[in-house]
């Protein structure tokens, strides 16, 4: 059974009198350990799909199952619990909490899980070590470079050992050199920690690090390439 099963997913937005449908009857399956990238022009529903997959937006039709749980049916509170335990989110603009240190930012998702403070500390230090920022644990976001901030964001996304990590343009606000470092890091985390990743990007070079590359147009997946191509609907 696939880790993620998306069936007949539709999402509509009303903009004045106009109805926009960024996701239309979309089917998709993602296997455990997959690294999926999604590309496509602006407004084709990439971020909307990511938001639906993360449970921060509700679809108008269809369903999303993650590891057997139908996330589209969960209430807002249960969705928050589900995200805390199962989902890591990497933002384009890092979105670190400015008043907290790198350590405290990474610790945030772990605070929501039932574990002792010593276990939590171990996990945070491991996550920071995984992104190569052990020596920056006590630095505040304003004391970090853009690349370091994004690495803290990645550590925060993996600290709870989620089943799925979604990344919304993770290199979108970085220079070329830093972007490449982040790509290498994401690929390494996928391979070495077997973390299932879904990444949205505009950049085909960034998309190329993924094992499956999907292309969205008009709310549907129109093209799929990569090492593991199975499970793609609408192609």
């Amino acid at each position: 059974m696939a880790l993620v099963e998306i069936r007949n997913l539709t999402k509509r937005f009303r903009k004045g009198d106009e109805v926009i449908t960024p996701v239309l009857e979309l089917d998709l399956e993602i296997e455990m350990g997959d690294f999926v990238s999604m590309m496509g022009p602006s407004g084709t529903g990439k971020s909307t799909l990511l938001n639906l997959l993360s449970g921060i937006d509700k679809p108008d039709g269809g369903s999303i199952h993650v590891d057997g749980v139908e996330v589209t049916r969960l209430s807002r509170g249960l969705l928050a619990d589900w995200r805390a335990a199962n989902l890591g989110y990497i933002f384009q603009t890092h979105n670190l909490v400015p008043v907290l240190t790198a350590y405290e930012n990474v610790e945030l998702p772990a605070l929501l899980l039932p574990m002792s403070s010593s276990d939590r500390r171990k996990r945070v230090l491991l996550a920071l070590e995984a992104v190569g920022l052990s020596d920056r644990a006590n630095h505040y976001p304003r004391q970090l470079s853009g690349g370091q901030e994004q690495r803290v964001g990645i550590a925060r996304a993996i600290v709870a050992h989620p089943k799925l990590v979604v990344a919304d343009e993770p290199t979108g606000s970085l220079d070329a050199e830093t972007s490449e470092q982040i790509q290498v890091l994401l690929g390494r985390l996928n391979r070495e920690l077997n973390i299932t990743m879904v990444m949205v990007t505009h950049d085909s070079d960034v998309a190329a690090i993924a094992s499956r590359q999907l292309r969205l147009e008009h709310g549907r997946i129109v093209e799929g390439t990569g090492k593991a191509n199975g499970g793609i609907g609408n192609v």
Binding site: I56, D57, G77, V97, P98, E104, L112
Partner: protein, 379 residues
């Protein structure tokens, strides 16, 4: 439960100027509220204690200021014969100001040998014997001693009166602690008072079975044929009547107290609203990471509570300290209301701060908790 406490405190510290201004505003408002509440408590204590209900004051009919009431001293003997009367204490009152004043000085001249039994006074320093033996000696309440900086051995003069402090006392009735007790004869013979054989009022202590109002009627009826007609009332009623102007003002002032609470509410709510508006994206991030809406709600309420509690604590503790060390009182026509710190006042101040902190945070907390995550993430 307290895992997000560092986040709450750091969020407040991030905008420290705003936090400090809000806390200081709340502190000042709670300080004023506690002052107003202490005046109300003082008035309530004065008029509702057992002594005020079981003691009668015999005053000259249709007179209000102590200087205008002149009753024969030997009325005490006639009053003592009335059934239900346990004892009578003739009192000569002298005050530096018949009008409402924050620094009123009230002398009560009483027979030295009767005072110790008539009043439940605890001598904090000095001696009763010196008071009884030395004509110009006085024992003074701890409140006026604090206010005027007097101690045992001090000489205190006001107008034509000059006394030597031979004792400082405390009393379970706070307003008593604003009084200066002298020997009756000393006050009667003082130049300007000119009251030999005359007193301002008689204080009547009743048997436990006596009906105060019935005894009061009997006293007035029996003295009707004397040289001066009298009006006898319960001490509490007498004091309320004497302080009627002040009672009206205090009644109005309690609205000022509520206004202060409203001010704190508005101040904290505004700060929290601004704070939440500034951090909508941050709260959206927290929820994306898996923080439940109710937890976000509690985080915002906690921020509001911390602001209000710090301000409330500072204001309440400042008010209690000023009340404790200031020895303040307000009075008119020889009757005083003591401003005193109390446990009830502390609980009221802190309890109100807690309640206001929660109420002020509800709207901003609701906004932060049930926002549209998608919209606020992309803002």
């Amino acid at each position: 439960m307290f895992r997000f406490t560092p986040y709450v405190l750091k969020s407040l510290w991030r905008h420290r100027t705003r936090t400090l201004l809000t806390v200081s505003g709340a502190a000042v408002a709670m300080l004023v509220f506690c002052f107003v509440a202490s005046v109300q408590q003082g008035l309530e204590r004065l008029t509702s204690n057992e002594d005020s209900q079981r003691t009668l004051i015999v005053f000259q009919e249709n007179r209000f200021c102590p200087t205008s009431s002149r009753l024969p001293e030997d009325y005490a003997r006639q009053i003592a014969k009335i059934p239900g009367v346990r004892s009578v204490l003739p009192v000569q009152v002298w005050t530096n100001n018949c009008r409402a004043s924050l620094d009123i000085v009230v002398f009560n001249g009483v027979p030295a040998d009767k005072l110790q039994h008539a009043r439940n006074l605890t001598l904090l320093s000095g001696s009763w014997n010196q008071f009884k033996s030395q004509r110009d000696s006085a024992i003074i309440g701890s409140n006026i001693a604090t206010r005027r900086g007097l101690s045992v051995g001090s000489q205190f003069s006001i107008g034509e009166l000059s006394i030597k402090v031979c004792g400082i006392f405390s009393s379970p009735i706070p307003s008593e602690e604003n009084l200066i007790y002298t020997q009756l004869a000393f006050l009667q013979y003082t130049k300007g008072v000119d009251s030999v054989g005359v007193v301002t009022q008689h204080e009547v202590h009743l048997d436990s079975s006596a009906d105060p109002d019935e005894v009061a009627n009997q006293i007035d009826a029996s003295l009707r044929t004397g040289p001066v007609a009298t009006t006898t009332r319960r001490k509490g009623v007498f004091q309320t009547s004497t302080l009627s102007d002040l009672v009206d003002i205090i009644g109005f002032a309690h609205w000022l107290g509520y206004a202060c609470v409203g001010l704190v509410l508005s101040l904290i709510a505004t700060t929290m609203f601004m704070s939440v508006q500034d951090r909508m994206k941050e709260h959206a991030i927290l929820q994306t990471l898996g923080v439940r809406p109710w937890r976000v709600f509690r985080i915002v309420i906690s921020e509001s509570l911390v602001l209000c509690l710090i301000g409330g604590l500072l204001g309440t503790l400042s008010a209690l300290s000023i009340l404790y060390f200031g020895g303040m009182a307000i009075g008119a026509e020889g009757v005083t209301i003591a401003f005193r710190p109390s446990v009830e006042l502390a609980i009221l101040g802190i309890g109100l701060s807690l309640a206001v902190g929660i109420i002020a945070g509800i709207v901003p907390a609701t906004q932060a908790a049930w926002m549209n995550i998608r919209q606020n993430l992309s803002s």
